[in-house]
């Protein structure tokens, strides 16, 4: 079935647009710099966006709604939590880049708790581990990352109870 295109966040975009107009009027130099920063962020994110579009298509193609429900739905159990943690840890780019994929999977039965697990697990940043060890030490790095995963699971359980 083909989806109907409905835009989300248009009011927010209008507000941001107005904010930029004000900035251009009152602080032209910084407004230009802010716009330039945004442009740079966007160009850095383009490959991540492409990756997410392809990943969402692959999920939709290989995982039928029934399977999404089985792996990430109400009865997904520990396996669903495990996949969400791994997905969160491995996911790159900012949190908002993943909104479309998660929103799409949510429509097919992805549990809210697992979205929370995914989001919090993203705090385990594999590429940044060497930097973290260099600044805070190896014991600190291991301990904090274990707690992050543990609290991601706890948050997921609480969210599921609260959203019922």
């Amino acid at each position: 079935m083909n989806k109907k295109l409905e835009f989300k966040g248009t009011k927010l975009l209008i507000l941001v647009f107005i904010a930029y107009i004000f900035l251009f009027i009152f602080d032209n130099t910084n407004a230009l710099e802010a716009l330039n920063k945004s442009k740079n962020i966007l160009s850095t994110l383009l490959p991540i966006f492409a990756f997410i579009i392809i990943l969402t298509a692959l999920i939709n193609y290989f995982l039928k709604p029934k399977q999404i429900l089985k792996h990430f739905g109400e009865d997904s159990g520990k396996a669903g939590v495990f996949y969400s943690i791994i997905g969160g840890i491995l996911s790159h780019g900012p949190m908002y880049a993943w909104y479309s994929m998660l929103s799409d999977m949510r429509k097919h039965g992805l549990k809210d708790g697992l979205i929370a697990v995914f989001f919090y697990s993203r705090a385990v940043k594999l590429p940044l581990l060497p930097l973290m060890i260099g600044i805070f030490g190896i014991t600190y790095t291991i301990v904090i990352n274990i707690y992050i995963v543990l609290f991601a699971i706890i948050q997921g359980k609480i969210i599921d109870k609260l959203m019922k």
Binding site: N2, K3, L5, F7, K8, G9, L12, L13, V16, F17, A19, Y20, N30, A34, L35, K37, S38, K39, I41, L45, F49, I52, I53, I54, T56, A57, L58, N60, Y61, M95, Y96, Y99, S100, M101, S103, R106, I115, A116, F119, Y120, R122, A123, K125, L128, L131, M132, I135, F136, T139, V143, I144, Y147, I148, F151, I154, Q155, I158, I159, L162, M163
Partner: protein, 146 residues
Amino acid sequence: MKQKQQEPSFKKAMINSIKSFASILPVMFSIIGIVGIFQIYITPSMISSFFGYGNLADIFTGTLAGAVATGHGSISFIIAEGLKEQGVSLYALSTFTLAWVTLGLIQLPAEASVFGVKFTFYRNILAFFSTMIIAYLTIITIGLFS
């Protein structure tokens, strides 16, 4: 008459995926626009200046500053390294770096428009308290090892 159910093709899955992504483009552009403004007005040196007012205040500042700040996670560690040299507590630095990657005040409206206000509210409140508890537990735990 029984109709044969058609298997969706990859092309269709791709089109649907592009449509899903396109539907939240206003959200994406909004956040990217706000991040641009924040990165100009809230600089690393400004964030550093918020610390140094006592342990408890630093912990709270760490969580809030991390939640407001934007940018790559590595920036939070670089700022944290400078703050560590200034004598800011490890507890405050932990809340700061953790809040940087788990909380996003500027993403709240966008998250709410995609996942709903209720989910966004609960998730962020939980993430906020988790950040402070994790920092506390981490310091306590590494204290046991040293």
